[in-house]
């Protein structure tokens, strides 16, 4: 296919918006999420509002769509412009909600994305008490990928008092973000 890069991505986005087929939607979203891995595509993806698309998909019922969208965000959120855009668009909240997904990839992408989105400004949100508490539990998981990421979150993005506070809280209550089903 001799389409230019922008035209190609545009075609993907259009297909996503127009198609009735769930299967096609999933394929296209996965495709876009993979494109989001490569910084040379970021300008185009922003132009085509794919960031908003990913954020919108986080609240879908379809588990695959959520998984792929979360992966897409994880892939592109390190870029400064993308990061600011996601933070401005109040993206942290739906991402935190993804921590309670039963889909392993979704959860793992969400943990990493929260780390990548943590800035001096956003850390009040990304390292809020319920999140830290959740990470504490994740750090004890038998799932190595999850426990590694959670450990890094606690060690590198939280202060010892924050971790201590969360530890105290979890001793007393069961309130918080549930663990994903194993």
């Amino acid at each position: 296919m001799e389409l230019g890069r922008l035209e190609y991505l545009q075609a993907l986005v259009t297909e996503f918006q127009v198609t009735d087929s769930t299967e096609a939607k999933e394929q296209v979203l996965a495709n876009l999420a993979n494109f989001a891995y490569d910084p040379s595509n970021y300008e185009y993806l922003r132009q085509l509002q794919v960031l908003d698309l990913f954020l919108d998909m986080l609240t879908e019922d379809n588990e695959s769509l959520v998984e792929f969208a979360m992966g897409g965000l994880c892939n592109l959120c390190l870029d400064k412009t993308n990061k600011e855009y996601i933070l401005e668009a109040n993206g942290v909240e739906p991402i935190i909600n993804c921590l309670s997904s039963s889909n392993e990839e979704t959860v793992v992408s969400a943990v990493t994305t929260l780390m990548f989105l943590t800035t001096p400004r956003s850390r009040a949100q990304t390292t809020a008490l319920p999140v830290v508490e959740c990470m504490l539990r994740f750090s004890l998981s038998a799932n190595r990928r999850l426990s590694n990421l959670a450990s890094i979150f606690l060690q590198d993005y939280c202060t010892p008092p924050q971790v201590e506070e969360a530890r105290n809280l979890s001793r007393h209550t069961a309130v918080g973000i549930p663990l994903p089903k194993d």
Partner: protein
Amino acid sequence: AADSSGAPGAPCRHHAQLGACESRAKYREGWRPRAVKVYTINLESRYLLIQGVPALGVMKELVEQFALYGAIEEYHALDEYPAEQFTEVYLIKFKKLQCARVAKKKMDERSFFGSLLHVCYAPEFETVQETREKLQDRRKYIAKATNQRDCFVLKKVEGPKKTPSKNSEQDCPWNSLGSHVATNWDPSCFTSSPGVSHNIAYPSGNQNESLLTSPHYDNNCADISGYFGQNTSLTPSVHPGGHTPPTSLMQQRMVPACNGIDRFMPRTTHLQERKRKREEGNKFSLIGTSEDNTEVVIGPQLPEIPKVDMDDESLNTSATLIRNKLKEVADSVSTSVEKPESSSAKPLVKQRRRI
């Protein structure tokens, strides 16, 4: 999957080989059938799990085959991992993520001693520190690729860990960029992303632009030599299609590596280097054409006479560095004019200016 605990050595959901997607629309059908899967930095890993290895005592041959893609740090059989009859499962740990990526792409679904290999990442084998470094490398790569960070800062971050082997790991982002070029020209690679079984083929000509990042002003010779060492192996696979990036990679090889104390030269951009060489081309008979990548400009070349001699080597170095930086800033205005010239195949022929 039967057991998706995510513990190392146990079958994980992300090891499962998904069926290829049959229903893609024509315009986004790739060259090879691919499954619907999203690759993130969490999924990729230096650790590869290889299933379907015939139980014929061929571990040595297997490792040799994978070693073609890069240095291997560890390997062993995974005896507890469920395997099909008459096959074995192996774990191979590459020194660099980028090598694991390429190895996976090339070896997955490849026939090996009559059996079809299934290769996937095994991030669950990583230690916390390995995962941490993986994420940090990804951060650095993005910062570099999107020009959002000062090169100096990049090096400083790695400061305390500086050893020769570590330096080449620092250059990981560069490696990724380098192999963008290699893989772009590889007819069997169709991914828009640096890697693996992604969904679609895209002839990514535009990607080359991301390779021309800001110059690295770096006082550490070893870093650059290591980088060039790695690039040397990459450039042969690049087809000289007259595009700027392959040329620039070859050109960077021309910057004299540190192979003598008295030959220390501060780093300059490749454009500046070419300009300097063109200006001094007549003086030094040993300098070949800039396009001649078989002739490296090292050797009995007359040392550059410092413009300001401050009678102190380190002061002279600093002065030259500052001077070059000023030159670079001044040159950045004329860069757009330089570019068409640098992409021409015969620099000694009269330059054509792009209108």
